[in-house]
Every structure is written in C-alpha cells, then in structure tokens.
Symmetry: D3
Subunit: 131 residues, 6 copies
C-alpha cells in the first residue's frame, strides 16, 4: 500500500508480475499506474480487482468510451481525486473530446443537484416508474 511504498515491477513476486504483464498487454502500454502498485502489497486483491475491472470494462452492449465516461461520472460524484485524474486520462485515450468531458460534467452536476431536490422534497415515486 502507499503507506508501505509501491511495488515496482523489478521487485515484484511472480504472481504480481503476471498481473502487471496482463494489465500492460490488455492496455497496450508499457507502464503500470500507482493504483495497481499499491494494491500489489496484497496479491489476491490485485488479481481479483484487475480481473473484475478487465471483465467489466471490456466492450459489450456498451462501447469502451461510454464505459470510461461512466467511470469518470461516478468518480466525480464521489470526489475521488486519484480516480478522476486516472479515468479522465483513460477516457481521453478512448476518444473523449473536451466537449464530451464538459457534457459529462454538466450531467454529473445536474444529477447531483436533482438527486438532492428529489430527496429533500420527499417526492414519491410515480406509479408509472415502479417496477
């Protein structure tokens, strides 16, 4: 963990290197960002988290860019500094333009506003919206 420093590739045990290799191959890059180097202190968490992220972010009914925009939206809602920085970068790599970023932020802002208005006004769910 960060409080213990980061696990660099050269010092990493084999099971950690295997995950790092898979991250770089999947992303087509030659470096590992700090998030994974911090998790690597607990190899089981590193492996499980990476495999879940890889599965969830793979193209499916939604394309990779849309998934990255959703990740940015959640991270901005939670105000996670690291995650905003890293996923804004990933989203740009996946094709997010400045205009798209601005529209994501505008939706995130409005949704955070109206979520509190709906809760604060104690609005009941309309019959038509019930499952």
């Amino acid at each position: 963990m960060a409080t213990c420093g980061l696990v660099e590739y050269d010092q990493a045990p084999a099971e950690v290197r295997a995950v790092y290799d898979d991250i770089m191959a999947t992303r087509g890059t030659d470096w590992i960002n700090n998030f994974w180097k911090a998790l690597a202190h607990h190899p089981a968490t590193l492996r499980r988290t990476w495999e879940s992220v890889r599965q969830v972010m793979a193209p499916g009914a939604l394309d990779p860019l849309t998934k990255e925009l959703l990740y940015v939206a959640v991270s901005a809602t939670n105000q996670c500094g690291y995650c905003i920085a890293s996923h804004t970068a990933s989203a740009r790599k996946a094709g997010m333009t400045d205009a798209m970023f601005a529209e994501v932020m505008a939706v995130v802002g409005m949704a955070n506003e109206t979520n509190r208005l709906a809760s604060g006004y104690q609005v009941e769910i309309d019959e038509r919206f019930r499952p």
Copy 2:
C-alpha cells in the same frame, strides 16, 4: 413540495403551466411526473431547474441515451430512490436495453469499489495523470 402535496396542472398558476407545457412538448408526453409537481410550489426553482435540465440533456457531443446512462450512474452512486426509478425509465425510453443497464450497473459498482481502494490506500496521482 411533497409535504404540501403536489401541484396538479388544473390548479397550477400560469407560470407553472407554461413550464409543464414545455416539459410535455419537449418530451413528447402528456403527463408530468411528481418531481416537477413538487418543485412547482416554488415556481422560480421549477423554471430554473427545468431549463437547466433541458439544456444539459439536449443532444450535443454526447447523444441523449449516453446522457441518460450517466444520469442513472450518478443516481445509483448517490442511492437516490426516486431518481433511480425515474431515470431508469427515461433511459429505457431513450433506448437502454437490459444488457446496457446491467453493464452500467457493473461499471458503477466497480467504480465505487476502486474509488475507495484508491482513497483508502492513499495512492498518489501519477505524474502522467497530472493536468
């Protein structure tokens, strides 16, 4: 507000009716959901909120479906019951399939998980991710 009941079209003053008419025309529907009927107790809030939502949700660099998916993602992150119900319905109307919904939820879940891992491990932002 809900604590005062909802403002129905027939009882609404002219300035509220004008907003209701614009909501229905913009959405191509003939009804108003409870959120707006609650805000209508304060016509200035009703008008400002509606005009902001209309502007933000209009097609631009992102299409309306992507914007609705983002709204669902934020509402699920904030756990706003009314907003999850109403925006899941809007997103379906805009074309969200069951498979898309499931993928939105999967990304929302992972982002909420990794946001806390990044914060809890006190991960520093990589140089490459800095603005």
Copy 3:
C-alpha cells in the same frame, strides 16, 4: 433498535426515562420521536447523543432556526429519509416558512452541483482562499 422494536416510556428503565424527560422538557412537548426510542436500547448512546444534540442546537452565535436549516441541508445532502422528515418538521416548528424551505433546497441543490464540478474539473484552490 428498530430491529428490536422501540423502547416506550412505560417500559423504559430509569436512566432512559430521565433522558426522555429531559428531551420533552427541553422541547416543550409531551412525546418522544422514534429516533430516541430506537437509541434507547443502548442507554449510553441515547444519553451521549441527546446531550450532544442539546448542546449543539442550543442558541449561540447562530439562532435555533438557522441551526435547523443547516440540519435539513445536511440531511438532504446525505439523503437520509428519516432525518429529512424529522428535521423539516423541527425547522417548521422553529419558524421555517415554505419560501425558506424552497430556498434551502435551492442552495443545497446548487452546492451539490458545484461541489462535483469543482472536483471533476480538478480546480486548484486559489491563493486567496488558502488559510
């Protein structure tokens, strides 16, 4: 706790009754709301929480109405259903009008929106705002 039912005055042990009596005397009412009846399963929590609330909500540099408005604002931001209902009622008793409630909600909505814009855009704190 609610999962064990609520502690009613008649069944309550002496240490719980003493707190209930102080709540009713401080508020000038003859009933106890469910929040306290749930906490009463753990008398130490009941006493500590009540004494803190009584101290914090007493008139000081801010008047009781302003404090209740702040309580409503926090509860709406956190989307706590029970707290929104109970503190909206307390605020009305302390003098909150419909117009005041609507303005509190408008500020809460805008603050929740701009909080995410500031975080999402990674805005640096201006020199003039630094302590």
Copy 4:
C-alpha cells in the same frame, strides 16, 4: 478545465468576458476565482452555472449570510476541498464570525452522525412527521 489550464480574462472570448464582468459586478470584486476560469472552457456551462448561482444566492426569504452558511455546510458534508475553501471565504466576507463557523461545523458534525444512526437503526418515520 484545469487539465487544460484556466481561461484568463485577457484570452477569453467575448461571451466568457461578459460572464466574468457580471460575476465581478455582482460581487463587487475585481478578480475571478479558479472555479469560473475552469468552467470557461465550456461557455454554455459557465453561463448556466453562474446564472443559477446568482439567482439562488440572491437575498430572498433567507439572507445572503445564511445562504453562505448552508453552502459551507453542504460542502463540508461532501468533503469538497475547493468548495470548503472558497465558500468559507465567501461566508466570512458575508459576515460569518469564528464563533458562527464553529457552530456551523458542530451542527454539520452532529447531523452527519445522527443521519447514520437513524439509517443504521432502520428507524421508521413517525406518523407526525409524514407529509
């Protein structure tokens, strides 16, 4: 946006300058804080956000100081570093004393505590608190 730097007055297009001028005139200041300079990359967001803030923060049923205290309370609840710094400064300018700030924080702290107690104990809303 911050990842693109900030839009300074001298470089700003006319539509951005018009908003900056209005911000400075409304606030009686001769500078623009970073939040607006970041939003200025998307002039429609800048204009909409500023006009909403100006409308919401104008004196009405609540005075400007009370509105600033509410903004600080929401920002502290959401733990938005930028917003806490900037709105603590605005609130001081509007008349917030050290004692008022301490009481706002005390209410914010208690409300955040009791919000979780009410939710964690699954307390049902009292009949008297229902709309």
Copy 5:
C-alpha cells in the same frame, strides 16, 4: 433486475443455478436472498460478484464476524437500506450481539461526525501520519 422481477431457482438457467447452489452450500442455507435473484438477470455479473464476495468474506487475517461488522459499518455510512437489513442479519448470524451492534453504530456515528470536522476545518495531515 428488480424492474424485471427476480430470477427464481426453478426458472433459472444452468449457469445461474450453479451460482445459487454455491451460495447455499457456502452459507449452509436453503434459500437465496433477493439481491442475487436481481443480479441473476445478468449471469456474468452474478458470478463475478458472488465469487468476489465469497473470496473477500472468507476467514483470513480477520474473522468472519469482524468482516460482517465492517460491512454493516460501510452500509450504514452509505445509508443503503437493503444492505443494512441484509448485513445486519448476516452479522447476527455470525455472532453479533445487541451490544456489539450498538457499539458499531456508535463508532460509525462518531467517524461520520469527525470526518466532516476534519474536512470542514481543513486540517492538514500531521507529519507523523504521512506514509
């Protein structure tokens, strides 16, 4: 998903039944709670989520009761009604007494309070606490 109803064992496809069987075997029960029946509309999410939960909640450096208490603490902080109800039940099954529950809630309440005091007062991290 709940908006589509729940997937009952008898209607479930083989891949879903396999997960349900593993849940019941791992927990030593003969029923499946609604959370898994809702996820089952997307079998990949069901399988991934269950396998992660099973791995994370298994005994390790922390015993199962401590892990359930942590789950309750997070769910109460996030104010997730379903999760509070289901994990309070799991925690009781794992040995949580009424007194333990009350102490978990007391810590959750204080932590939520002091988190906002630390943020609101803009307290700098002490040198000794830095990694």
Copy 6:
C-alpha cells in the same frame, strides 16, 4: 481552526490544556495531533468531541482494534484524507497488520460496490431481513 492556525499547548487556555492533558494521558503519548489543535479554537466543541470519542472508542463489547478498523472503514468510504491517515496510524498502533489492513480495504471495496448494485437494481428487502 486551520484557517486560523492551530492552537499549540503553550498558547492554549486552561480549559483547552485540560483536554490536551486528558488526550495524552488516555493515549499514553506526549503529543497532540492537528485535528484537536484545530478544534481547540472552539473549546466547547473540543471538549464534547473528545469526550464522545473517548467514550465510544473505549473497550466494551468490541475491542479497541476492531473499533479502529471500523473507523478506518468509514473514513475510506467517505474518502476523508486526514481521517484515513490518522486512523490508519491509530489502527496500526492498536495492532493492525498489513494483512488486516488489506482485508479491511477489500471488504470496504466490496461493500461500496454491492451497496450501489442493491440500490441501482431497486432490490426489495426480503421478508426474513425485516425487523
């Protein structure tokens, strides 16, 4: 408060020193961390907060290490930088190993994920989980 600097022992009035002395005696240390020095600008808040923390964190049905783990879990969920740093340090002092920390983070991550899945899928509480 931090915006006014920190109240050091030597400058502190008697009522603040008394609390500082109690903090150091209770913790068996000879220093005070910044959180308390910031609160000390408002002695009533300092005293009330410290007495509540001391009462809540004392050994009871749960041991001090478990309570510190819960504090870390809440702070990571809320993403409070100061609180994560200070309570990770306290938890280590109380006996938290690297493996325990990693398991706390793993539970915190999963709980934050499944909280949103349960809310987003609008899962109804099972009869068996109702109080």
